[in-house]
Structures are given as structure tokens and as C-alpha cells.
């Protein structure tokens, strides 16, 4: 019974967890985090099961309530979706594991229950966006995720975070509004909300209403770009991610920003035909904005003195990589982009979590003050180093694999210049990550630090993330072989090759 309805249950379970937490957690605070841990763990198990089903049976379909589309709500899972689900559930679980003991020290204990509730809401909405196959559902979950994310930023109530959260909320709403207009436009010209039906009706609609269809595509792309922090619409990101509590930053940078890219992928590769998109100036705009984002994100990151803000600007740059992969419209580039979504989720969460630990135990946020911490707290510093080296693209870590595919994709698409963009930006990445690693291990401490015990949950989660970085670097064929058939399918069906 459960297995038949696995897909909606994956979304429902965190939502049920929300209610449980709110019911139970107000009285017995300690239970809230246990419930959260259990729920996220169970969600991860369910997501693994979905992945198994997808790899053995192919695409999965589910009609809510038995109502068939186009009137019913449809949930779909294909290998790319399953891969993204694994990312979200896995990292979501790791962050909860980390926050198990760390959270009471970071935020006001009175709001911890609310925090976990919001976290599970966010997780549910992320899973929902990825699984849904009709735009209305996607939009609902999109809005939920925005609000939950903004709330997670401001949860602690300090001035800076509140300001950042308001900015995030307003700009996010701008993005959502634009997306809504796009969805409305699509509905108007095609009469459907389900992605597959829209894809079928679109050629006819384009014949009747070309301008509307184009406007729709433009609105959707820009709206998603705002929410996914593509340059120059990224301005909300550094403040929001820099001022949020550690676990929030980890999940925001790692997951929330990426889920909108998943929507964009669905849009560009399933709804709109590939040969149609390549006639538009979309590719050029995406590539230009992506490249600018990569360089400006890296350059601004080099100038930062606060470690969390630096990591936030680094996220801007990495999002640029993902958009680069999407914009190149070639097989290997898309594989690289999806791999980078996963790899970056793991790496950035690891970086934020270890940075959070370093900040917590040294009391300092400035990069210059983190000297010598590696000797006192080796595990967070090693985690940070692994994340940093992976970001720069040193084999055999996972970051190298995504860059490898992006580079080959650039060559496949006959755009040699983006290979150089990739290599040069990797060097820039080194400029702001390596000094921290060097200072952490090889410089003397500036202030006396006492060694305190790191909670076991935090240690385990960091080890899990380190292991994931190594595993998906050394055995990347697992993920690449999983993804490639679907990606090839996109390019074969639509226009005979990318």
C-alpha cells in the first residue's frame, strides 16, 4: 500500500512531521528535534526507494486521487527527478543531524520548535516542486518554499537577519509573481496546466499567439532567475545566506536555490521544444549572465572578510556554473549541470556547516581570525578543506567531475571560450578558498582557543558529507550512468541531438 503511493507520501511525511512537531514540541522541546530527525531520515529512505523504483521500472507516474490529467494533479519521477530528490533528502537529513545539538547554541531556544517545523515545511515544498508535474502545484510549493526559507533566515530575530529576510522575501515575491504571470500566460494560450499537455499543445499555441508564448518563456526564465540568484538578480543572496543561522544557510545555499533550477530544467527541456528554444536569444542571455555571475561572484567573494558572506558569494558563482551548463544546450553540459547541483549541495552544506562550527567555537567570523583553528578542531577544518579543494576542482573529489562534464560540454557545443571561463574561474575559486585552509592548518592562532567537544551529531554529519564528496568523485560513474540515458533522451527526442 505504501509502496504504491510512495510519491505523495514522500511529500506528506514531512508535512505530517510539521504537525507532530508543533503539537509535541511546544510542550516537550527536546522531542521536536527527535521527530525532525526521524522524519527526515524516513523521507530519505523513501526517496531511496523511489530511486530504486525508477532505476528498475523507468519513469513513475502518480495521479492524485486517481484523477487523470489534465484535470488531476500528476506526480512524475524520472531519473533526473530521482537524483534531485536524493540530493534534497540526503542533504536535508545531514543538516538536521548536524543541527541536533548545535541549534540550541545558535538560535533562541524558544523558537527551536518553530525552526524544525519550518524546516520540514521547506523540505516538503522542495520535494513537491521536484515531483509535481503541473504548474499549479509547482507554483504552490514554490510560494511555500519562499516563505519558509525567508522565515528560516529571520528565525532568530536579530536585526541584520530580519533586514536580509525582508529583502529576500520581497525579491522572491517579485520572482514568484513573474513566474505566476508566465504560468498564467501558458494556461491562457494552451488551456492546460500539466507540463506534458502543455508541451503537446504548445506548437499550436505558438502558431496562434507567438508573442504571448515568448513573453511567457521570458517571464518564467526571469522569475526563476531571480529566485535562483542568477547574476544580476542575485543581490538578495549574500545578505540572506550570510546572516542566517548555520543550518539555514546550509540548506538555503545548498538546496533552495537549486530547486528553482529544477523547474527551469523541466521548463526548458520538457515543455518547450529544443529546436524552438535554440532560435531564441535565450542561450546567449543565459550564458552571458552565467559567465558574469561566475566571475563577479568569485571576485566579490575574494573581497569578503566575513566567512559566511564569502561562502554566499561563492554560491552565486556556483549557480553561474549550473546556468552555464544549462545554457550550453549540450548533453555533457547538462549532465555536468545536474551533477553540479548535487555536488554543490553537498559541498556547500559541508562548507557552511564546518564554517558554522568554526565560528561557534572560536567566536569569530572574520577570515583573518580563523588562523590556527585546524589544530584545535581538526574535523571541521578538514571538512572545510575537502569542500574547498572540491570547489576548486581537484580530483578525485566530486567537484572535479561536474567541472569535467561542463568543460566537455563546452567543447561539445563548440564554445571553446567557456572552457577558459571554467579554468580561470577555478583559479579564482582557489584564491578565496585556499587562504582559509592554509591559515587554518599552518598559521599560529591569534587568540587562545580552548578545545571543546564537538557534538556527535555534528561530527557524524560532517563525516557523511566528506564521504559523499569522495564517493561521488571516485565512483562518479554511478551517478553519471544513472543520468545519461535521460539526458540523451531529451536531446534525441527534441531535434535530434544538441
Amino acid at each position: 500500500m505504501i509502496t504504491a503511493h510512495i510519491m505523495p507520501l514522500t511529500i506528506l511525511l514531512p508535512l505530517v512531521g510539521v504537525y507532530l512537531i508543533l503539537l509535541v514540541g511546544s510542550k516537550y522541546r527536546a522531542l521536536a528535534r527527535k521527530v525532525a530527525l526521524l522524519v527526515t531520515g524516513a523521507t530519505f529512505v523513501m526517496v531511496c526507494y523511489i530511486t530504486y523504483l525508477v532505476s528498475s521500472h523507468g519513469k513513475l507516474f502518480y495521479y492524485l486521487g486517481g484523477w487523470a490529467p489534465p484535470l488531476g494533479i500528476e506526480l512524475q519521477a524520472d531519473p533526473i527527478t530521482a537524483f534531485l530528490l536524493l540530493t534534497f533528502a540526503g542533504v536535508g537529513f545531514s543538516v538536521i543531524l548536524f543541527a541536533y545539538d548545535i541549534l540550541p547554541g545558535e538560535i533562541n531556544p524558544k523558537v527551536i520548535t518553530r525552526y524544525y517545523a519550518l524546516y520540514l515545511v521547506l523540505l516538503a515544498s522542495l520535494l513537491g516542486i521536484v515531483l509535481s508535474n503541473d504548474f499549479f502545484n509547482i507554483y504552490v510549493f514554490l510560494e511555500i518554499s519562499s516563505i519558509a526559507a525567508a522565515a528560516l533566515v529571520a528565525i532568530n530575530g536579530d536585526k541584520l537577519a530580519m533586514e536580509a529576510s525582508i529583502k529576500y522575501l520581497i525579491m522572491s515575491t517579485l520572482g514568484s509573481g513573474t513566474v505566476l504571470m508566465g504560468i498564467a500566460g501558458l494556461y491562457m494560450v494552451t488551456g492546460y496546466l500539466n507540463l506534458d499537455f502543455i508541451a503537446g499543445a504548445l506548437p499550436v499555441a505558438y502558431g496562434h499567439y507567438p508573442l504571448t508564448v515568448l513573453m511567457t518563456l521570458a517571464m518564467l526564465t526571469v522569475g526563476i532567475a531571480v529566485k535562483a540568484a542568477l547574476f544580476p538578480l542575485h543581490v538578495w543572496l549574500p545578505d540572506a545566506h550570510g546572516s542566517a543561522p548555520t543550518s539555514s544557510s546550509a540548506i538555503l545555499s545548498g538546496l533552495v536555490v537549486k530547486v528553482y533550477i529544477a523547474v527551469l530544467l523541466k521548463l526548458l527541456y520538457r515543455v518547450f521544444p529544443l529546436d524552438f528554444i535554440t532560435t531564441l536569444p535565450l542561450q546567449g542571455s543565459l550564458l552571458v549572465m552565467a559567465t558574469l555571475g561566475i566571475f563577479i561572484g568569485s571576485i566579490l567573494a575574494i573581497r569578503q572578510k566575513d566567512i559566511k558572506k564569502m561562502l554566499a558569494y561563492s554560491t552565486v558563482a556556483q549557480i553561474g556554473y549550473v546556468f552555464l551548463g544549462i545554457g550550453l544546450f549540450s548533453e555533457k553540459a547538462m549532465v555536468g549541470a545536474i551533477m553540479h547541483v548535487f555536488n554543490h549541495a553537498v559541498m556547500k552544506s559541508m562548507l557552511f556547516l564546518s564554517a558554522g562550527l568554526l565560528i561557534k567555537y572560536s567566536g569569530r567570523r572574520n577570515i583573518a581570525d580563523l588562523a590556527g583553528l585546524g589544530r584545535v578542531y581538526p574535523l571541521p577544518m578538514i571538512a572545510f578543506s575537502v569542500g574547498a579543494l572540491s570547489m576548486v576542482g581537484i580530483p578525485p573529489l566530486s567537484g572535479f567531475i561536474s567541472k569535467w562534464y561542463l568543460g566537455l560540454g563546452a567543447l561539445e557545443a563548440n564554445q571553446l571560450v567557456f572552457l577558459f571561463v571554467l579554468l580561470l574561474s577555478s583559479l579564482l575559486n582557489g584564491f578565496y578558498y585556499l587562504p582559509i585552509v592554509i591559515a587554518g592548518f599552518f598559521q599560529t592562532e591569534t587568540v587562545e582557543i580552548q578545545k571543546k567537544e564537538i557534538p556527535i551529531g555534528a561530527q557524524v554529519s560532517l563525516v557523511i558529507l566528506i564521504a559523499a564528496t569522495f564517493f561521488f568523485g571516485l565512483f562518479s560513474n554511478v551517478s553519471v550512468d544513472f543520468l545519461t540515458p535521460t539526458v540523451q533522451g531529451f536531446f534525441d527526442v527534441l531535434g535530434g541531438g544538441g
Binding site: L160, E163, A164, I166, K167, I170, M171, L174, G175, T178, L211, L214, M215, A218, M219, T221, V222, P232, L233, V235, D239, S243, T279, L280, P281, L282, I299, L300, R303, Q304, K305, K309, V392, G393, I394, P395, P396, I401, W404, G407, L408, L411, L419, F420, L423, L424, S426, L427, G430, F431, L434, I438, F442, Q443, T444, L474, F475, S476, N477, V480
Partner: protein
């Protein structure tokens, strides 16, 4: 030549890599055990390398592949070149490790040093036995990062700075190498060492691009000018055993990479249409080699710290190797001597350079000094060191009977043959550069020898001891090797070089020629005399005029190229950020203010008009009796009076109106004067200052601000920390982008 699958190369790499664990664990049980474990691991690696060489010498090529590793598989391929150099690497590493036991005995962080040294051994040997470029890259990067820890061992300011330059430059080089790998993978589908030049051209990629990236990638490691700037910083600050390894082995990985790529990937047969490319590549490398060897030697002469001179010497000797490589590539199938010279010098330099660095380390260990000006007169206290140094110096100078002589003769033959075959005048001049550099080499090495061991002692050396027995053993081994190759050079060539050369498509005539190199010909035996003549002249000049030679700080590649580039980038970035964060919002605000000013004048005017009241009018009061008794004259008088009053009122009103009009005119004039002129207003908006005021101050304010910003003295209004303020501005950006994208999509299709 047959291929055989063997796990030996895998073992060769894994043994030291996993041996690190053994070292770290042994360290818990005491220093002695740890040192023994390190020695054991290094010796075992050497033994494996020897066994591997034995197998390869019989004609097999050992291959091994770990498929499924990172999706491309990790490949090992040990042919003759790899096997010989593995032996060299592991032998030098063993000798350095044995030396290190005593040298590091009083250092801090010994376990860290030994552990990373062992790991670096594994990575370095992996570079030489890698089967394709991707595996090479993997080991290359591992070697870079592991050696970093060795470079910054002392952890003082100088070491950290040297480490930074080393690391960033190496990472940049690694990325350039990655670019080459990308291109090869795209073109070939794999990154093995197979000829690829045709495919590269067929795909429309410029081969020079590949060569440029290759030079960037391997050139940093090889220390070719102008990518050498890390070498003179990093090699001196590392502890002596590490310096020996860095100079002797690690920079060879760069040369090895060039060797593989130039001779196996980018080479084509002589008659091939693309042969011109190969000739150009070769010629380029000869020039690069010549410049590197010459400038390296000059810098070696001009420096005064023993290790720094030796570091520049390494750069110079790498120049020899590249010079020879270039000759080999230039001549195509006739290039056997070039290849042989390069290869032989790689082997010889590994030995005598590590010999020299370890000797320098011994001197430092016993005297605590590396500065040549402070050393002197050590010959009485350290005679054995002096003797060994003499042997090593004879090697590097190329005195017959020592190993350096052999490779130098071969390289000389190579360039002479190139000139003989091609008759390009430049080649003759390059040969002369080669000879002069030989003299300069003799000069700087003699300078070290003389200044260290001769002359009056500058300090009290009475406590200084000579070399310890274990060090004497190490140096004895070096001497044996140096003499073995030196006394029987033909034998060494036949054993070590000819088998390697015969695998490559060189002409049979040249290969036979290699079997009969005129090592003991009268012309060849005279060459060290030429060298010493030049050296003598240089040293005398230096002695006489050395005090007057001050190298200006700005005369270095680092300052002229790197620092200017860095400053340029910083200036551009600062200026862009200034534009985005200060200038644009500032101008927007000024525009609003200017518009506000216009508005204000209008408002003021309207306010004036509103406030003006018409003059008071009092109607006259008439009662009934006055009306009855009024006469015509009276009436006329009253009418006159009222008319006058009317006129008075009109006059007053007119004057007030006139006042108002005058006031409006005044204000208008004011406004025109201050802001009426369109150009003025724009200037105000753009520059923020009224044009007249600015012209008084002279020069455009924007230009002044630009200079301030570039110099870094501009007021820092960009606070990189928190800018949650600009919400309105940022929202405008979103709106503008939406409009722009719509425009692009709907209009510009």
C-alpha cells in the same frame, strides 16, 4: 616491445602512499621507530622500482589499469623512460630521507614532514609511471599539494609567502594542464600518449593553443622563465632534504611532461604536412631553454645565499634540458641526440643537484649559515664537505670523468647537429649561448665553493664539526654514482638512454651514432677549459666590480610582469565596484536632487503668487444727510479724490505686481544662472559639483576620483560587509532586467 599486465606499478605508488599511515602510527611509539619505518618504506619503494626496471629492461612494458576509478580509470604504463626515472626518483628520495634523519633531528613537526615527504614520493613516482595524461594530472596535483607542506615547513613569514606563490602558481599551472587534458579528451576520446596533432587540427583547434597551455601547465613546475618565480622563493625556505627533492625530482616532472607530450603526442613523421608545426614547437623550446639557462645562470652569479644560488642553478639546468628537448623536436627523426641529451641530463641533474643541496644542508646544519658573505674558511674544519662539494661542482660544471660532462657533451652535439642539418644562423648563436652559460655555471658554482671553504673565516668556526658518518655514507653513494656515469659515459648512454631512444621513431643512423658519442675526443675535452676560462673572467670581474652591482628591485620578472598584472586587476576591480556601489547610486541621487531643485523653484514661485494679497479696499461711507447736501463741486472733488485713490491703488498694485514680476524674473535669472543651462545641469548631475566650481579646482573630478580609487586612497564607501540597505535600488534592477529580457525576446528575435 610487448606489453604485460603487472601490478608492480600500482604497488610502486601504493607502497609509499599507504606507508604514510605506517609512519604516523609508528610515530606514536617514538622517533626512532618512526625513522626506521620511513627508511624502510622508502627503501622498499626503491626495491620495487629496481625490480620494475629489471623487468622492463628485458623488453616488456608494464601496464595496469584501474577501470571504474572516477569513470575514466586510472592507468599505469611503465616503459623504459618511466622505469629508469622511477629508479632515479626512489634512489634520490632514499638518500635524502637517510640524510634527513640527522638534519631534521632538531626540527619541529618532524612527523608531519616525514609523512608528507613519503606521500609526495608516492605521488611523484606516480607521475612518472602514469599511463595517460589524466592519471598524470591526478598524481601531479597530489604532488603539488603534498609538497606544499614541505615548502612551508618552517612556518615563518618568508616560508608562508613562498608557499603562497608556489601554491597559486602551481594551481594555475595545473588548470592549464587540465585545459590540455580537456582538449585531448575531446579530440581523441582518451588522454593516452598517442599522436594527436592531426586530430587536433582536424577539429579546428589551433595546435599553438595546446602548446601554450602545455607550457603553462608543465612550465610552472619546470621553472622555465617567466614562470619560475616560485622556485627561488620556495627551494631556499624548505628544509635541505626537501629542497633537494624539490630541485632534483619535482621540477623534473615538468620536463617529463614536456618529453611525453612533445615526443609522443604532438610529434608527426618527417614528411608529414604538419611537420612545420613540430619544427616551430622545437625551435620555440630551444629559445625558451636558452633564455632560461642564461638568465638562471646570471641570477645564480648575482646572488649570495647558497640555497638561492642553487635554486637559480636548478632553473638554469632545466633550461639545458628544455634546450635539448627543443633540438630533439626540431630535427624530427634526426633528433635522437636532443632527446638523449635531455633525458641524460634529467638523470644527471637529479643526482648532482640533490648532492649539492644536501651538502648545503650539511653546511647549514653544522654552521647555521647559508649566507655566502658570512661563510668562509671552512676548509680546515670541514675538509670532507669540501671534497664532496668539489666532486659535485665538477659534475655540474662538466669536467670529464664526472656525470655532468656526459650529458653536456650530448646536448652540445645535439645543437651542433641541428645547426649542421638546418644551417640556421640563430642556431649557431644559440650554441654560443650554451657554451657561455657553461662558463657561467662554472662561475657560480666556483663562487660558492670558494666563498664557503676558502678565504678568511668570518666567524668562529672552532666548534664546527665535519660531516657525520651517516652523511658521509650518503655522499659516498652520490660520489659513486657520479663517478660511475662519469667514468663510463658511453656505457651509461648505452644502458640508460639508447633503449629509450630506440622506442621513438629516430633514424637508425643517429641511434648508432649514440653508441659512439665522442666523449673523449680532443675537441670535447677542451670544453671544460672554455668553461673555466669564462668562469675565471666572470669571477674576476665580480670580485673587482661586484660591490658596484646592485640589482634594482624592479628588475625582476615578478615585479615587471606579475605584480603589474595583479595591480592592474585590482585597479580594474576596485573601479568597477566603485562605479557600481558608489558612483551609480550617487548619480541617481544627484539626478533626483537636481530635479527636486527645479521643482523647488516652481514651488517657491507658486507660493509667492499664492501669498500675495490684493491691497485693501475700503469703500467710502455715505449717510443720507451727506447725500442730500452734496454739491456738484463737492462731488467732483470726491470723485477726484477717489480717482486719485484709485490711481494710488492701481499704482501700488502695479508696483506690487511689478515686485512680484521682478521677483519672478530675479528667481528665473538665479535659476538660469545656477541651473538653467542644460549642460551645466548635466555636469552637475554627472560630476556632483557645479561646473564653474569644478573648473576652478581644475581637472575632471571623475578623473581625480579614478586616480584616487586606483591608488586605493578613495573614501571607502563600499562596505563589503552588509548592504541590506539598497532594497529600492536592487528592486529596480530586477524590474529593469525583466524589461530587458522581454525586450530581447519580443523585439530582437
Amino acid at each position: 616491445m610487448s606489453e604485460a599486465i603487472s601490478m608492480l606499478p600500482l604497488v610502486l605508488v601504493l607502497l609509499p602512499t599507504l606507508g604514510v599511515l605506517a609512519v604516523v602510527i609508528a610515530a606514536r611509539y617514538g622517533d626512532r621507530l618512526r625513522n626506521q619505518v620511513v627508511n624502510a618504506v622508502t627503501f622498499a619503494t626503491f626495491a620495487v622500482a629496481c625490480w620494475q626496471f629489471y623487468l622492463v629492461q628485458q623488453g616488456t612494458v608494464l601496464v595496469y589499469a584501474l577501470e571504474g576509478f572516477m569513470q575514466f580509470g586510472l592507468r599505469w604504463r611503465v616503459d623504459f623512460v618511466s622505469a629508469v626515472f622511477s629508479v632515479v626518483v626512489t634512489l634520490v628520495w632514499l638518500l635524502a630521507t637517510v640524510f634527513a634523519k640527522e638534519y631534521m633531528a632538531h626540527e619541529h613537526n618532524q612527523t608531519r614532514f616525514l609523512a608528507f615527504s613519503t606521500f609526495t614520493l608516492g605521488a611523484t613516482v606516480g607521475v612518472f609511471v602514469a599511463g595517460d595524461l589524466f592519471s598524470l594530472f591526478l598524481f601531479f596535483e597530489a604532488m603539488t599539494f603534498a609538497a606544499y607542506v614541505l615548502v612551508i615547513h618552517e612556518e615563518d613569514r618568508e616560508s608562508m609567502q613562498a608557499g603562497n606563490v608556489y601554491l597559486y602558481l602551481s594551481v594555475a599551472g595545473g588548470l592549464a594542464l587540465l585545459g590540455v587534458i580537456f582538449l585531448l579528451q575531446y579530440v581523441l576520446g582518451a588522454t593516452g600518449f598517442q599522436p594527436a596533432l592531426h586530430l587536433i587540427v582536424a577539429h579546428g583547434i589551433n595546435p599553438w593553443l595546446v602548446v601554450a597551455m602545455m607550457i603553462g601547465g608543465f612550465g610552472v613546475k619546470a621553472g622555465l622563465i617567466p614562470l619560475h618565480i616560485w622556485l627561488p622563493k620556495a627551494h631556499p625556505v624548505a628544509p635541505a632534504p626537501a629542497s633537494a627533492l624539490l630541485s632534483a625530482i619535482m621540477i623534473k616532472t615538468g620536463a617529463y611532461g614536456f618529453l611525453r607530450l612533445l615526443f609522443m603526442v604532438l610529434s608527426v613523421p618527417d614528411g608529414d604536412p604538419l611537420f612545420a608545426f613540430q619544427q616551430d614547437f622545437g625551435y620555440l623550446f630551444i629559445w625558451i631553454g636558452a633564455i632560461t639557462m642564461f638568465l638562471g645562470a646570471i641570477m645564480g652569479i648575482l646572488n649570495n645565499s647558497m640555497k638561492k644560488v642553487l635554486a637559480y642553478s636548478s632553473i638554469s639546468q632545466m633550461g639545458y634540458i628544455l634546450f635539448a628537448l627543443g633540438s630533439g623536436v626540431l630535427l624530427g627523426s634526426r633528433g635522437a641526440f636532443g632527446f638523449a641529451g635531455a633525458w641524460m641530463h634529467m638523470i644527471n641533474h637529479a643526482f648532482f643537484k640533490s648532492f649539492l643541496f644536501l651538502l648545503a644542508g650539511a653546511v647549514f646544519l653544522h654552521t647555521g649559515e647559508l649566507d655566502l658573505d658570512k661563510l668562509g674558511g671552512l676548509r680546515k674544519r670541514m675538509p670532507m664537505a669540501m671534497g664532496f662539494f668539489l666532486i659535485a661542482a665538477a659534475s655540474i660544471t662538466g669536467i670529464p670523468g664526472f656525470n655532468g660532462y656526459a650529458s653536456k657533451i650530448v646536448i652540445h652535439e645535439a645543437i651542433l647537429e641541428a645547426y649542421h642539418l638546418l644551417q640556421w644562423p640563430s642556431l649557431l648563436w644559440l650554441e654560443r649561448v650554451f657554451v657561455v652559460t657553461g662558463g657561467l655555471t662554472a662561475a657560480y658554482i666556483s663562487k660558492i665553493w670558494i666563498k664557503t671553504f676558502f678565504g678568511k673565516p668570518k666567524q668562529d668556526w672552532s666548534q664546527v664539526k665535519d660531516l657525520s658518518p651517516s652523511h658521509v655514507r650518503v655522499f659516498g653513494v652520490y660520489t659513486a654514482i657520479v663517478l660511475a656515469i662519469g667514468v663510463l659515459p658511453q656505457r651509461a648512454v648505452n644502458q640508460l638512454v639508447v633503449p629509450a631512444a630506440s622506442r621513438l621513431p629516430f633514424s637508425q643512423g643517429d641511434l648508432a651514432h649514440l653508441g659512439h658519442v665522442p666523449f673523449w675526443g680532443s675537441h670535447e675535452l677542451m670544453s671544460p677549459l672554455t668553461s673555466y676560462a669564462i668562469a675565471g673572467a666572470v669571477l674576476i670581474l665580480l670580485w673587482k666590480f661586484g660591490k658596484y652591482i646592485k640589482i634594482p628591485r624592479w628588475l625582476s620578472v615578478e615585479y615587471l610582469v606579475y605584480e603589474q598584472f595583479y595591480r592592474g586587476c585590482q585597479a580594474v576591480i576596485r573601479f568597477l565596484i566603485y562605479l557600481g556601489d558608489t558612483w551609480v547610486p550617487g548619480r541617481v541621487a544627484a539626478l533626483r536632487r537636481a530635479l527636486g531643485r527645479v521643482d523647488k523653484v516652481t514651488q517657491e514661485t507658486k507660493e509667492q503668487i499664492r501669498r500675495w494679497k490684493p491691497p485693501e479696499f475700503e469703500p467710502p461711507k455715505w449717510d443720507s444727510s451727506t447725500i442730500k447736501s452734496i454739491t456738484t463741486a463737492d462731488l467732483m472733488k470726491r470723485i477726484e479724490v477717489s480717482r486719485q485713490k484709485e490711481q494710488e491703488r492701481v499704482r501700488v498694485w502695479r508696483s506690487k505686481e511689478g515686485d512680484l514680476a521682478k521677483r519672478i524674473q530675479e528667481m528665473r535669472r538665479e535659476w538660469h544662472e545656477r541651473e538653467g543651462r542644460f549642460g551645466d545641469r548635466i555636469y552637475d548631475v554627472v560630476e556632483g559639483v557645479p561646473r564653474k566650481k569644478d573648473e576652478q579646482e581644475g581637472g575632471s573630478l571623475l578623473g581625480k576620483r579614478f586616480r584616487e580609487v586606483v591608488a586605493g586612497t578613495a573614501k571607502k564607501t563600499f562596505n563589503p560587509d552588509w548592504n541590506t540597505k539598497n532594497l529600492g535600488f536592487d528592486t529596480w534592477i530586477v524590474a529593469i532586467v525583466i524589461a530587458l529580457v522581454l525586450f530581447i525576446f519580443l523585439v530582437l528575435r
